[in-house]
Amino acid sequence: MNLERLPNEEKLNLCRKYYLGGFALLPFLWLVNVVWFFKEVYFKPSFTEQMQMKTYVQRSALGVLLWAVILTAWITVFQQYRAEWGEVGDYLSFTIPLGIP
């Protein structure tokens, strides 16, 4: 999809849909939103819908950061303490590495 040929309302619409979609546990969607509309929002001469799009992009970026923090924390905790958790650790594990940790 080439953004250049889309009218501004449709761009805003798309941005909004991506923003709302990201609430369904989809940080990747927020990331795509940020990357895709970044140039539109920050490097283009302003157009009517730009302010709204900017808020969407900013909030999506915030969401991505939040998710990144949560995920990093969880993954770190899991990798460190998986062996110590015993059964719970195994139950949570999707793949269990071989060998001695």
Partner: protein, 482 residues
Amino acid sequence: MANNAEDVENNMDQQETSTSPESAPSQPPESGLRSRGVAGAGNGGTGGGGGGDDGGGGGSGPEQNGQPPATRPARVVEAEEEEDEELTLKYGAKHVIMLFVPVTLCMVVVVATIKSVSFYTQNDGQRLIYTPFPEDTETVGQRAVNSILNATIMITVIIVMTLVLVLLYKYRCYKVIQGWLFLSSLLLLFFFSYIYLKEVFKTYNLAMDFLTIALIIWNFGVVGMMCIHWKGPLRLQQAYLIMISALMALVFIKYLPEWTAWLILAVISVYDLLAVLCPKGPLRILVETAQERNEPIFPALIYSSTMVWLVNMADTDGPKRNSTEAASPPQEAQPAVAPPEPSSPSQDDGGFNSTWINHQEHQLGPLQSTEDTRREVQEMPSARPTPEDDEEERGVKLGLGDFIFYSMLVGKASANGDWNTTLACFVAILIGLCVTLLLLAIFKKALPALPISIFFGLVFYFATDNLVRPFMDKLALHQFYI
């Protein structure tokens, strides 16, 4: 296969003249523009022609307004014709490169996976339901017979699926086709990528918990579905198409026994050739039906290198939109073939892709013929009339089935042989792709992309494996450098 690169301008060409682009200057500028544009979109070559035509049309315009001497227009036309030829060639090369990159990427992913993750080369004893005869038999003769039977069953399945698709398309069961396609890509994006991730983690001996994996797969799948079937950034859509082609090729490599796989490659190339070029071939019927109805044939499963956006499409899209669902990724998928319309009803074509995809999904059972997807590609004629507005450069389209079979060939070569064989097959396939695109630029109609490349690939594989490899091994053994 149907996946060949499609020349968008088929429609245009058929409507205007059957002559080569060079004759375009004689036509009114608009039609020249149209035919050129269409051609351009379809193939690199055509794109060049389009540009040339525009130049020719534009050039002759002002000449006529003034009072140019009689000889000048002729000379201008000649110059423009030469320009056309040059532009055609230049444009063609660019489009070839635009297709090289994704095909190469897909192959790289497949080869990297094959070399590192042993899962895809292990023989678990599992087979697809389409290839019921085992190949670990006692005698060579028995093995040959089994593989021939397997290939026959597979190709029959493919033919049946293709016919079903053509029938569905002919009787306007677009919803069925779209749903089919949707389910196929769903399976591919979620289930196969889950298995792929699992095997990669196992190979690298990493621990991973269910929560993270669920989140990753969920994100990957949903964003993939959105990019492919709805709207998304072009690059991301292309990346997803490459990834699902690679996944499919890996599934094929894993679940098809040795001889069966090579036989299937050969037979499918022949079938592709027949289906696309014979007057009664299903793919050809599909293309023609799509052209009659002036609909874009392509569904979500065609890889397009750029997106063409036709400004006027919005008007003409209306009726089509009603008939088709919004599932298909309008612009991304089809740039090359039809004028890129935002609402391009790839949905019509969707069936193809899904067929192809379903075919791959042996787990599900539904058969999809790759033919369909290939056809899809072929059928890229621009059903829509080109708008008067200039369209930006069109890309080239290639069916995903082509990606899959190319990668499958190279993947099998890397699984069995050494790097010499792999590289030889890789080069052979790219050369075949070049030749196919060249023919596409010359003939300006849908062409099967599989036969030439697969033929070259097979020849190179068997020649390298049986002739070059022992030779190089002997040389290395005796430390004899040439």
